[in-house]
Each structure stands twice: as C-alpha cells, then as structure tokens.
C-alpha cells in the first residue's frame, strides 16, 4: 500500500512562495500533489501542479493546432478538472501524467466537436451525447513509468520520429509520409513496430506491469 504525505501539511510548504531554495525542499511527486489536493483541497499543491503541467499542456495543444487562447483555455479547464476530480485519481492505477493526458485529450476532442457542430449548425438543434462520457476513460492498469519511458527512449530514431510527428504534430500517416518523404507503407510499418515494442512490455513483464 502506498503512503503519501499531505503536501499542505508539510512545514516547508507553509508558504510555497517563500524564498526557500529548491534544493532545500524534498521533491514532491506529481502523484503526491494530486493526492494532497484530494485530501485537503490543498491550494499550494494545486499551484505547484499547475506550474508543472499547465505550460506543457499549452505547448502540447499549440503543437496540435490550437491557437494560443484555445490552448490556454483548455489548459485551464484541464487543471480545473484535476482540482474537481482529484479524489478519483488512483496512483496505483495511473501515473499523474497519464491521468492528466486523458483529461486533456477528452477536453480537446470535445472542444473540436463543439467547434465543428457550431460551424455546421443550421436551423435545427440536435442534442448530442457527450463524447467524453462515451469514451473509455477507465484506466485499467498503469505501467511502470520508468519502463515505458525507457521503451520510448530506446525506440530507433526512425520509429521515434514517426511517433513524435503523430503525437505532437497530430499528423495522419499520409501527412507524416509527405513530411518525411517516405512511402505511406514505411510510415505505417515504423509506427506499427514502435507500438509492438510498447505492447511487448506486457509480455516481457508477464502482464505484471
């Protein structure tokens, strides 16, 4: 059973804006911050988590084609969801970044659908289901972060490049093929090999990851 300290109850965190040097503070993991938010509505922990993730989320969304304002708004909404749903976070099942990623992804797809709907709306209003509610948000089993990170780092450059273009630039297989000047089949096979490598983590660990 994992044990987590409550972030806001730590003496050094009495004021997060004090002048204590970073070196004097023990590192508090992202997971611990979320647990502290859930346990005691810890605003200092929220502030810290916001500082760590909001700029990354914004950068990720701008890479995906959002404007600066859209990216900032979605990043704000994502962090608010973290605040509101922190008690649903289970660190034994998902890493903080994985949980945050699914929140951001669902907000973005929902946002895109709303934009699309507005542009297509004519004279009638048709109520639509919420895609976020339809998506499988259940995270079954978290993988060891270190193992997944190493697996990504160990991907051959040509496979990693395709993964990165797919993830960060939101490019389709055809667009990646155009960008890299490669046949479409080569792009697909490189991506497939990278995904196989990730999937092999399950068999390598006897499904214990």
């Amino acid at each position: 059973m994992l044990e987590y300290k409550i972030y806001g109850q730590m003496p050094f965190m009495a004021s997060i804006d004090d002048n204590a040097s970073d070196a004097s503070r023990p590192f508090i993991s992202d997971e611990e911050l979320i647990i502290s938010i859930a346990a005691s509505q810890d605003r200092d922990a929220y502030r810290e988590l916001f500082g760590r993730f909001a700029p990354k989320i914004k950068g990720f969304l701008i890479g995906r084609g959002c404007t600066n304002t859209e990216a900032e708004d979605i990043a704000q909404d994502a962090m608010l969801k973290v605040w509101q749903n922190a008690n649903q976070f289970n660190p034994t099942k998902a890493k903080a970044s994985t949980w945050l990623y699914t929140i951001v992804r669902n907000l973005r797809t929902d946002y895109l659908r709303k934009q699309n709907r507005i542009s297509r709306l004519k004279n009638e209003y048709v109520e639509e289901p919420n895609i976020a509610a339809l998506q499988n948000e259940k995270i079954v089993q978290s993988q060891s972060a270190k193992i997944v990170r190493e697996a990504i780092e160990e991907l051959p450059d040509d496979q990693l490049r395709v993964v990165r273009l797919s993830f960060y630039e939101d490019l389709s297989h055809t667009q990646i093929a155009d960008a890299l000047g490669l046949p479409l089949g080569t792009v697909k096979s490189r991506l497939r090999l990278a995904l196989e490598k990730l999937k092999s983590l399950r068999s390598d660990s006897g499904e214990k990851l």
Partner: protein, 219 residues
C-alpha cells in the same frame, strides 16, 4: 446483457494508437471506445499507449501561460458548482441493452429495410458526410445482399453473430472491410444480430435488388 468472451477480432494497433492520441472522428471513436469496453486485451493495450502518451505529454515543449493564469485558476476553484442529479440515461435501443459506455447515445429514429433489418444512425452533426456510424439490426436467419464498400468499414458486434464466407464472428468482435471485399454476411444461429457500424464511404450494392434498395437504406 452483452457477453463478449473469447473475442477474436480486435482493434488494429494503428487505429488504437490514433484513438488514444485523440485522433479519428466521432463515429470511429465511439466504435473503438465500445470495443475497449468489451475487450480486456485491447483495453490493456490502450492503457499502455495512454501511459506512453502521458510520458510524451511530460516531455512536451513548454509554452508559458499568461501572466495571471494561476490567479484565474485558483479563483475558479472557489466557484461553487451546484451538483445536479444525473439524468436517467437510456442504455438500450429498441429493446436491446447497450454497453455502459453507450448510455445516453442519441440516434435518429430507426428505419426498416424490410421487416427483418433496421438501421438507426447515430446522431452527430460533427461527422462529415459520408462518414457515419449507425446501429444495424438483422433478424436471425437473414443474409445481407451482396455488397462492397467505397472505402473502409468497421463493424462491432454487440449481440449475436454472423458468418462471412469461411469466417464466423461473435459479440465483441471487430471486423474490418474495405473496397476489396464483396460479401453477403449471414446471421448465425437463432439469435438476432445487433451491430455498431462505422463507414467512411457508402456501400456498393452488387445486385439489382440491392441497388434498388440502396436509396432506402441511406448507407
């Protein structure tokens, strides 16, 4: 109740990756999400891909938030939201129970293609024509008219099963078809078959009768 043990037809890795990274359109996302709800194997793979996406998010290039963003964020946590009772969402379609993830899904009224087949298109203005997702119900013992496809089609069986040539498919299975296939699936056994279908191009009837019926089928 949908039983989907022993699933043999799974989501292709490239499709699953695109789903996890937030790609593909609404109809395709629904069908993949529903399969993940039924298939432990694909759900585990999706979870693994989500972990990888989480890692990539952590390594995203940072773009500074605006000057007062943290003040705005903290102020928003102060806003008390009124908890409203969740609406009772329908989780069946014309008497057939649906997986939980499809609870509340909206469709246009079903239309019959004869007494033994109906189609209920999923409502979503966001799907650019001719892409569409729909429920397809076929009575036990029926066989579809021979047809092909102008593009890709993904079928997820929710109830019953069907035979297509030498292959048999059952609840939970995903079946991919494309323009290279001409087929006439036949419902297996004595159980009616309910499917969720996504297609990004209209079907191509291969018989005179099929061509005659196509305008009524609207797929």
């Amino acid at each position: 109740m949908i039983m989907a043990n022993g699933i043999n037809g799974h989501i292709d890795d490239l499709d699953l990756w695109d789903y996890v990274r937030g790609g593909r359109d609404y109809g395709e996302r629904i069908i993949i999400a529903t399969h993940l709800h039924l298939c432990k194997e694909c759900e585990l793979n999706a979870s693994l891909f989500e972990d990888a996406c989480g890692e990539l998010l952590e390594n995203s290039e940072e773009v500074p938030m605006s000057k007062h963003s943290i003040d705005i964020a903290l102020a928003r946590t102060e806003i008390k939201t009124k908890t409203m009772p969740l609406p009772q969402l329908q989780n069946e379609i014309y008497g057939h129970s649906l997986p939980d993830n499809l609870k509340g899904i909206k469709t246009k009224p079903r239309h019959f293609l004869g007494p033994n087949v109906w189609i209920a298109p999923i409502v979503d203005n966001g799907i650019p024509a001719p892409n569409q997702a729909y429920f397809l119900w076929v009575k036990a013992g029926m066989q579809m008219l021979p047809h092909s496809h102008t593009n890709n089609e993904i079928t997820l069986i929710l109830e019953g099963g069907f035979k297509d040539g030498e292959n048999s498919y059952h609840a939970g299975d995903i079946i991919y078809e494309d323009g290279h296939t001409i087929h006439a699936p036949e419902v297996l056994g004595d159980e009616d078959c309910l499917c969720l279908v996504y297609q990004d191009g209209p079907i191509l009837p291969k018989t005179f009768l099929g061509k005659l019926l196509k305008p009524f089928a609207r797929i």
